[in-house]
Symmetry: C2
Subunit: 472 residues, 2 copies
């Protein structure tokens, strides 16, 4: 039921920003404009007659047309009366950006929050928040920041922390994450994590579910929702407030009671969901499940590096639970018949530093892709040591030479390093080269990871998810 | 003895590159020029009369002056005769970049390698390699790449894989790593990991020792060297060839017999050395020990983020073994007496999203620094969500406002995220902002990490090292 309620509530035709101003933070009106919201937008604030080019109304009741959705940016003390106005105006849902409620730890603020809930219930107004950024839904042009992509995609996220959601969107965008809807829901006074989880489980636009959770209001309902969701779609969870200090921080952040970690982690894993250690890892899993259809087994072919880094790549794949099989005899024989002088020396991982003698870098990757002993391929783009060999900024030619432009035989994960840069190096060839490569791969819907360990961990998670799905 | 031998051998006054050419890979002559080597450089190759502006001699014996150090870039088969020339010429040490010896796995190549050793022993020539890049010693202007910094520093590295050393130098440079000497030693035919470890232990220029090791020739000598070294200097080890596939790759890389991992890890830890999982973590430890004098205890004050990321920061510090204490009462009282309205709400980590009311972001960090309950500070630079609040590209002003320009009270670790970038974003404000901040901090000898988890792990390692040192 919550699922269909949210389905209706989260597609408003008209939005009023109560507490609108000319120098807003966050800039909700700017976000709606940048993302291309097609519905009516109203500014409400008794102190202005115009805000950012919009006529400004002194209060909600003066707004001429109907208002489906309110964004409240007014101080906490003024929220109860505004909720009454929402009820009178027939507003369906109020997103309370307004904060300083229960999270301050002060009894009077917690009481004020309860008063908001009483009035909302009485007036039939549903509430998102308080103390949150609310909805990002690129398909409808709704969102709290114009920095977010306008393009939508298969990933949904419910995040108790809107700051975490914001970071995640910006972290994930260059790696190809695109979203169906993201909700930062803060103190979860009315709608909570269970409601969003159930909604995303049903949502046909959503293929992958991400959740950042500090406290859970109803553990039993959450776990049963998680079990149901994880049978259908991958669910990735980051838990905030794992330790003593984190739990204390969570309490003063969203007034959450973060439970003890060990039972949490066990219950989440048992429900079939995937635990991520932080937002970076959540991005890794998010792109993996949105780009990779499935991986049928753990046998990985690795190419693109060499020497010690190649040895470490093999180690990291094995540590993540992949199997790095020796190069099959068929491939060695093929190499031998072609007169390749390192046919008996080259292995898996393919050591790029020993390649030569007429063997193009990508050829072995393709051979492994065509060989039935391999289930998945990992290719590593190195910070190139020999720039002059590659030529000025030709990412496309490089990808061709690496054979990465046309890998179709098996799922492919690519490692492109993130690099700390000195300001003096900002114009450097390497940065542009690596960014160009990453952008081209992402455009081709290839998942890209900054390290081998992270790619390998994701490959394993994809294998496990689809295996588990087959079994149920 | 090996220590003093290496001390003498690794400061040559004259270097000959045997197998020099106009299109060399790697460009040893270019490296010596770029790094400013002051001694004599000779090119040797019977096919040329001039190479890269240097007169080229047909063989070593024709070189007019004395030659201390030879870099051999000729094919493996020609190396034994060249070693005889070295002996006749009085060359002290031959670095064999030449490869395709035992690492190919072919018996005749292993035999050739043994022949090289026999002739070297007979002629009194010491050997580095084969199959490696040899020496980077910025203080003398020696190195195999002009991309390396000319400035020297307190970090030494011995690396069985020169590719790993190369990656590490380039990874570490923008984060402030500077080196006394780095040796890529490949197949370790003559000098091996024990020799370099013992040398670095004695070396007054070296404060931190890094080692990338695949196989160890003499386990007992290595562990006793490690125990001795780790009492004096932090020793960070990355082990390549941990698993089955990695060990196989190590064999075909440097002909190493990578031992089983569990006993290795236990022995290394027992010897007091620090195990790093990969090169990224090795850079983390390297900058930590070169910039931080000591940390006296686990109590950390955290500032600079907020919301969910702040909660996760607290979790990650606790997971790494730090203690995230509540904000002490003295600080709350000081805040109250100054009329700060969130005096009872703000905590540790300091939630930047609730700051306001006349409290500058860095002030709480300084208060924690002055308070005896804290031993170490971690400050987190976020990808700024509100660019207009900061203004165009003013990293210095931002650091001032964060109070990071003058933290002297306690050791400070700063988190500056690495960000995957889309090529279209390359000119973006955020990239330059983060790079500018990182560069300024590194110039002030502040260690910078891409994530809180990695900063926290290093703080813990520094605490443990100095505690252990006090006890011995």
């Amino acid at each position: 039921m919550a699922a269909s309620v949210l389905h209706d509530l989260l597609q408003p035709s008209s939005i009023a920003i109560v507490g609108a101003s000319d120098r807003p933070r966050p800039d909700f009106i700017g976000g709606l404009r940048a993302l291309g919201f097609k519905g009516d937008v109203y500014a409400v604030n008794p102190r202005y007659t115009e805000v950012l080019g919009l006529k400004c109304y002194p209060n909600l009741l003066q707004v001429p047309g109907p208002v489906d959705y309110v964004i409240s940016a007014i101080p906490a003390a003024a929220v109860p009366a505004m909720i009454d106005d929402c009820a009178k105006k027939g507003v369906k849902v109020a997103h309370l950006y307004s904060a300083r409620f229960a999270e301050t730890g002060r009894p009077q603020d917690a009481e004020l929050e309860m008063e908001v809930l009483r009035r909302a219930r009485k007036g039939g107004v549903r509430v998102i928040g308080p103390n949150c950024m609310g909805l990002y839904r690129p398909g409808l042009g709704i969102g709290w920041s114009g920095d977010f992509p306008r393009q939508s995609g298969p990933i949904a996220m419910a995040s108790q922390s809107s700051y975490a959601a914001h970071d995640l969107i910006l972290l994930g965008t260059p790696r190809g994450m695109r979203f169906s809807k993201v909700v930062g829901y803060g103190n979860a006074l009315d709608f909570n994590e269970c409601d969003f989880l159930e909604y995303f489980t049903e949502d046909p636009e959503t293929k992958v579910i991400l959740m950042y959770v500090e406290g859970v209001k109803d553990g039993r309902r959450f776990l049963s929702g998680l079990r149901r969701a994880a049978k259908i779609k991958p669910v990735i969870i980051v838990k905030g407030g794992k330790g003593e200090a984190g739990a204390r921080a969570a309490a003063s952040h969203t007034a959450s009671l973060a439970g003890s970690m060990q039972p949490w982690r066990a219950a989440v894993a048992q429900a079939g969901a995937i635990f991520a250690d932080g937002l970076d890892e959540m991005v890794d899993y998010g792109i993996s499940f949105s780009f990779i259809e499935s991986i049928s087994g753990p046998n990985v072919g690795i190419s693109g590096t060499g020497g010690g880094p190649g040895v470490l790549a093999a180690d990291q794949c094995e540590e993540a639970g992949l199997r790095v099989a020796p190069l099959p005899d068929e491939i060695r024989q093929e190499l031998k018949s072609r007169g390749t002088d390192i046919w008996d020396w080259v292995g898996n991982p393919v050591d790029m530093t020993i390649l030569g003698g007429g063997l193009a870098p990508g050829e072995l990757l393709h051979m492994m892709g065509r060989n039935r002993q391999f289930d998945v391929l990992i290719s590593i783009i190195s910070d190139p040591h020999n720039r002059d060999r590659i030529g000025p900024f030709e990412g496309e030619a490089y990808l061709d030479r690496q054979g990465l432009s046309e890998i179709k035989e098996k799922p492919l994960l690519v490692v492109v390093p993130d690099k700390s840069l000195d300001i003096a190096e900002l114009d450097l060839w390497t940065t542009e080269f690596l960014c160009d490569i990453r952008t081209r791969l992402v455009a081709a819907r290839v998942p890209v990871y900054p390290t081998v360990a992270r790619a390998a961990r994701c490959a394993r998670a994809v294998i496990d998810f689809y295996r588990q799905k087959q079994e149920t």
